[in-house]
């Protein structure tokens, strides 16, 4: 009576687009790596040294870990946690307070475990609260911007905006400046977290739900995966990553201040922008449902390489921040082009 109309009218173009959507971003990133590498070898002094590469990965590790946490938020369609540096700030202050004062009890002064747990709990708490409001239907931007103000304010208030010092030797040195097997501990932590995160996303039900809810919240609800619990979990993961990075950074500096992550951090200025840039440069979809933490990790290393190159070339921080900004714009344009291509047939 009627012929069954199958979809094979344009298998080539659709497959082509899909293949390239998956591979091209990665290919672009890798070829940029290569270009930079070659350029570095020939035109930059002191580039091809083990010390330099260790420095690159070490730089990447700090914001890379936070970016991996943020990737869960972005993939699940909850946009961004904009209170990244403020969460890190209050957790850093908490950790330093623990190390320096033992939260008022002399027995606990310098107790690494208690300070660490306190900092992580603050991270969990702020993640759960912000996730709760987003899960209830709040706009992630508004909620986490509000969260940013509150978290930063509490940290600054608590520490009277002072630098909290704790003297060496202390129990956190192994995390701050120590190393294992020739690699700084923070680098090792980055590698382990990156592997774990990728395994979770690929091979657990939770990981699958992150993608599904991110791809379509309404369909997620219809198939029994609510964004409510999802938002709480991903914001908590992200905040805990922030707390961990804050602890490592504070352990390295032997001190904390509430504005460490805005002005003093690293070389490229604002922590939040740097982390968001990492997620974007890796090629994760802002709208959610598409991407991976592996991409984010590569993005982190890429940004660290660019930054490192600019440092060796003698640029100061202004132009380097411009560089990060340009990378965000570029990656969004490239991703936008490919995302458009694959949706052409909808």
């Amino acid at each position: 009576m009627t012929t069954i109309i199958q979809d094979n009218k344009s298998p080539f173009s659709s497959k082509f687009l899909q293949f390239y959507k998956d591979r091209t971003l990665l290919a672009i990133l890798l070829s940029l790596f290569a270009v930079m590498f070659v350029y570095g070898i020939f035109f930059t002094e002191n580039y091809l040294t083990i010390t330099n590469f260790k420095a690159i990965i070490r730089d990447a590790a700090l914001y890379g870990i936070m970016a991996i946490g943020l990737t869960f938020v972005t993939l699940s369609g909850n946009f961004f946690l904009l209170s990244l540096k403020e969460t890190a700030s209050i957790c850093g202050v908490t950790f330093a307070m623990g190390m320096a004062t033992g939260f008022g009890s002399p027995d606990l002064v310098g107790n690494f475990l208690v300070s660490l747990l306190a900092a992580l709990s603050v991270g969990v708490l702020s993640g759960v609260i912000q996730g709760y409001f987003v899960g209830m239907g709040g706009n992630p931007i508004v909620v986490t911007l509000g969260g940013a103000g509150i978290l930063y304010g509490i940290g600054a208030w608590w520490s009277d905006n002072l630098v909290i010092n704790f003297k060496r030797p202390h129990d956190a040195e192994w995390l701050g400046t120590g190393s294992f097997l020739g690699l700084p501990s923070i680098t090792l932590a980055f590698i382990l977290i990156a592997i774990a995160a990728e395994l979770v996303l690929r091979h657990t039900n939770f990981g699958r739900k992150v993608y599904l809810v991110g791809a379509n919240k309404a369909a997620g609800r219809a198939t029994g995966h609510e964004n409510f619990s999802m938002a709480i979990i991903v914001f908590t993961i992200c905040s805990v990553c922030c707390a961990f990075v804050a602890v490592a950074f504070v352990a390295q500096m032997d001190s904390a201040q509430s504005n460490y992550f805005s002005a003093e951090f690293g070389s490229s200025g604002d922590m939040t922008i740097l982390v968001i840039a990492t997620v974007m440069v890796g090629g994760n979809s802002i709208m959610g449902g598409y991407g991976s933490t592996l991409r984010t990790s590569l993005g982190a290393i890429f940004i660290a390489m660019v930054d490192n190159m600019m440092v060796l070339q003698g640029f100061n921080s202004g132009p380097r921040i411009v560089g990060v900004g340009l990378m965000i714009v570029f990656s969004i344009i490239v991703f936008g082009l490919f995302a458009k291509g694959s949706r052409a047939q909808e």
């Binding site: 109309i5 979809d7 659709s14 309404a218 609800r221 219809a222």
Partner: protein, 502 residues
């Protein structure tokens, strides 16, 4: 009839890829005439409307306006020539006043104007559509939906539209509001406007039109004089007869073992609590127009829509699901009418879509290593006639029919006791339609209770074992097996209380 038609379309065809939406359509309308345009879902009504209003320039055939051949590349070009369309989804800006909305764009927009002058300018147009009691400075979102429709039309008139297309203007409206729309249409026609009235509500078509153009499978079935035709004849022309065999044969009897009992369910959009039960292994159809409450009842059984009261009894348990996930736990699956909105994860591969409701069954302790899922998804795909080689493709790349098969097929993964389907074949080509009907019948034969809601009169007549009819939020009647007759159902879902004297 003696005058030449103002708008005449002849031998128009339109294809989208492999699908032929219009094969051979002819259409004409005279000055001051109300022309009804009817046809099933997918018969090509909306394609024809898009062609007339300039949204779709990619057609073949002749389009004449006042005897001259024309071609509109954009809707605004058509509007300049006096052809305007009021779509189902209104394009009003809710936070602006009535007057501002009327003069949002078009030749009459002034560079500087106070709300006061705009209000004065808007007055005559509002009077013309019958909104005499509305202050033009009122904000749009304070008006009822019906009034908003009237404002939309007033806006079109202000741009000097000669030919107005109204696409299902009363679909979301109650009786009183619908009546206002009909009065407006008749008034406008008296003032010399030509009106193309597209509607599923046949009572309205008979009440206001002079002539009716009927579309079936993309072919226009000639123009009928309204006074020479009755509902039965119209439906017969709309459906054609030869299509009936795309439906699998019914069960020969209805099991009397009740599977799910719905008691006093009362979702929004339904006037009074609804109670019915569905039997083991039957296909139960809920029939009604958009807004009749059939779809709402279905959604609230699945926990997707809140119900004010009531309970379900399934497998000896009595409960009321508050969310889809609760319903899924009780083995109730619900496939919504809008697969792009909440039926599919378009950006994700097909296999992920197929296993999405049943992640627990394809994993061990929360870990999913892929092999179980792979075979599981492929089985489902095979069972629902989806190309197994394509399960790794993005589901957004599939055609409407195949998408619908994925949206429906994924629910088999939870081994449901009750399968609820809202509009099982909306936007689906005929081939896939018949496959979906076949699958539904097989699932029912396996003992799954299927309840579906549909506005498609053909599928309501031929697919289910039992039909319950709904009209404007009320349950009207129930029919079984051989007693399911198109004219009876059509009457019950359009005009059960003899409000029109057909």
């Amino acid at each position: 009839m003696a005058s030449d038609p103002v708008l005449k379309i002849s031998n128009v065809s339109r294809t989208f890829g492999a699908i032929q939406a219009l094969k051979e359509a002819n259409f004409e309308i005279n000055e001051g005439e109300i022309m009804g345009l009817v046809g099933e879902n997918g018969a090509g009504k909306s394609t024809l409307v898009k062609i007339i209003s300039g949204f779709d320039p990619g057609f073949k055939g002749s389009y004449q306006l006042n005897g001259k051949e024309v071609k509109f590349d954009t809707p605004s070009k058509a509007e300049e020539s006096g052809i305007a369309i009021a779509q189902q989804e209104l394009s009003l800006i809710p936070n602006m006043s009535v007057a501002e909305n009327i003069f949002l764009t078009g030749a009459k927009v002034k560079k500087f104007a106070t709300l006061n002058t705009l209000s004065k300018m808007a007055r005559p147009y509002l009077d013309e559509v019958g909104l005499t009691d509305i202050d033009p400075s009122t904000r749009i979102n304070l008006l009822s939906v019906g009034e908003q429709h009237l404002v939309e039309v007033a806006r079109l008139i202000s741009r000097e539209a000669k030919i107005l297309i109204l696409d299902e203007p009363t679909a979301a409206l109650g009786e009183l509001e619908s009546r206002r729309i009909l009065e407006m249409v008749q008034r406008l026609a008296k003032n010399g406007k030509s009106i193309i009235y597209v509607s599923h509500r046949l009572d309205e078509i008979f009440k206001i039109t002079k002539r009716i153009t009927i579309l079936r499978d993309g072919v226009s079935q000639g123009v009928q004089e309204t006074k020479d035709i009755d509902v039965n004849k119209l439906v017969e022309i709309m459906l054609g007869r030869e299509l009936a065999n795309m439906f699998p044969s019914r069960a020969d009897h209805i099991s009397l073992e009740s599977k799910i009992e719905v008691k006093d369910l009362w979702p929004d959009g339904v006037l009074e609590p609804v109670s019915f039960s569905a039997y083991q292994g039957e296909i139960l159809g809920l029939s009604g127009q958009l807004g009749s409450g059939a779809g709402e009842v279905l959604a609230s059984i699945a926990g997707a829509l809140k119900s004010r009261s009531g309970s379900l009894t399934l497998n000896g348990e009595t409960f009321l699901p508050k969310s889809p996930s609760q319903a899924i736990k009780k083995k109730i699956a619900y496939c919504s009418s809008d697969r792009k909105k909440d039926g599919l994860f378009l950006g994700r591969p097909i296999f992920e879509n197929l296993t999405s409701p049943a992640l627990d069954t394809i994993s061990k302790f929360g870990f999913n290593l892929g092999s179980t899922e792979d075979s599981y998804a492929k089985n489902l795909a095979q069972e629902f006639l989806i190309d197994v080689k394509r399960v790794y493709d993005e589901s957004g790349l599939l055609s409407g029919g195949n998408q619908q098969k994925v949206a429906l097929g994924k629910w088999l993964s939870i081994k449901p006791d009750v399968l609820l389907v809202n509009e099982p074949t909306r936007g689906v080509d005929v081939g896939a339609k018949s496959e979906i009907y076949q699958r539904m019948r097989e699932l029912a034969a396996r003992g799954i209770t299927i309840i579906f809601a549909s506005t498609d009169i053909q599928e309501i007549t031929y697919l289910p074992d039992r039909v319950i009819t709904f009209y404007r939020g009320m349950m009207i009647d129930e029919h079984r097996l051989e007693q399911i007759k198109t004219p009876v159902i059509l009457k019950e879902i359009t005009d059960p209380f003899n409000e029109t004297n057909l």
